[in-house]
Symmetry: C2
Subunit: 212 residues, 2 copies
Amino acid sequence: MTDVVTEKPRRGRPPVSDEQRQRQRLEISRHAVRLFAGQGVAATSGEQIAQAAGVSERTFWRYFPHKEACVEPLLTKMVSAFCEVLRAWPAELELIDHLREAYRPLLDGASDEDIEAVLEVVRLTQHEPALRAAYLTLRERAEHTLAEVLAERTGLPQDAIEIRVQAAAISAVLKVATDDVARATGKGVTRDMLDLHREQIANSLRGLSQLR
Amino acid sequence: MTDVVTEKPRRGRPPVSDEQRQRQRLEISRHAVRLFAGQGVAATSGEQIAQAAGVSERTFWRYFPHKEACVEPLLTKMVSAFCEVLRAWPAELELIDHLREAYRPLLDGASDEDIEAVLEVVRLTQHEPALRAAYLTLRERAEHTLAEVLAERTGLPQDAIEIRVQAAAISAVLKVATDDVARATGKGVTRDMLDLHREQIANSLRGLSQLR
DNA sequence: GCGATTATTGGCACTCACTGCCACTAAAGA
DNA sequence: TCTTTAGTGGCAGTGAGTGCCAATAATCGC
């Protein structure tokens, strides 16, 4: 039997493509973050965000299940950039060395504006508990992807406890380092700082082994 | 100058003690969790919880800033139990050995009912995203306590990156292991399972160093 | 081009989480 | 008992988020 769904004769308006939808979410996300940063999350209403983004409030709520989810598209860019690098981790290399070589934080093909926006969001999560919760949830979802990569690499099942622990640990390292770099780049991001970020991750990974 | 506030001549009704307040929160927490488990978080209203706990809705909202926070008191019991064990970590011992010796999970002086309730909450967080977010937030708060302990132990400042990374990593290990044991104890908790929990944490800590 | 068909949007009303305000009661000391 | 301070409950209000339906947009067969 074919694992693809039986090709139904399509009729009517086709559903919007997934990338299209992601793009739209990202666009709204940018407006939301600007508002959050300017006046705080609590003081920013869904209506405001919708208006800023140029959609009706109703459709805004269809794109985001709750206000805090507005930070997801931007944060996802960052997290999935790291996941991509991990995926490309060649078998013969140490993780640390691979990161040194391949990790151009935070996002490879991203505009400078987006890098700045992402760091802004991370900074926001450090003072806005609601956003922090969303951030942590997102990170945990990403752990599954990390686990996938690690599982493939080691041959262990994806839900083996060693795999999940390592995934969680890597994620934790990345979180701490990211918080740090976001704080450090309070105003003005330089390439140097992002390089520092990479070195910090590498060093921290090494530090993990030193849990006496 | 004295670092204690100048002793004001107390008048009127004294504020309720902190333990008293915690007890009350815990009590409400138990009712809330029972309801959450029975009918889901979304279907449980603040009014219901308040009624079940025997307080007015208004005071309920004074005890908890939002519904999901109802899980905090129970979860805090678990997390702080681990922190206590860490505090007692003697300098000459390996962490793994110390845990094997001193960690009687999940809570030392707790009733069996509370252990069961805590595991129930953890299980709930695995299917209720809102509760999961609260759980993750709580865990991150606990990282500060872990960092404190590690800092004191190593002489490094509490906000040194090595310290925060190690704290986050330990926390991550604990999280994964806790999720596992909560799943395993779907029905019926035995001492064996809790011992298994301890061993799993110990093994996972060892696994951390194997990040090739 | 014209309908028929399906997807998305926007508007409206509604529920409910949560807050501010105020009157009321409880627990102290004078 | 009177005064003072803290906690409680009720009531009204805001705003997040949802269900429902009418309107519009995009596609196909003709």
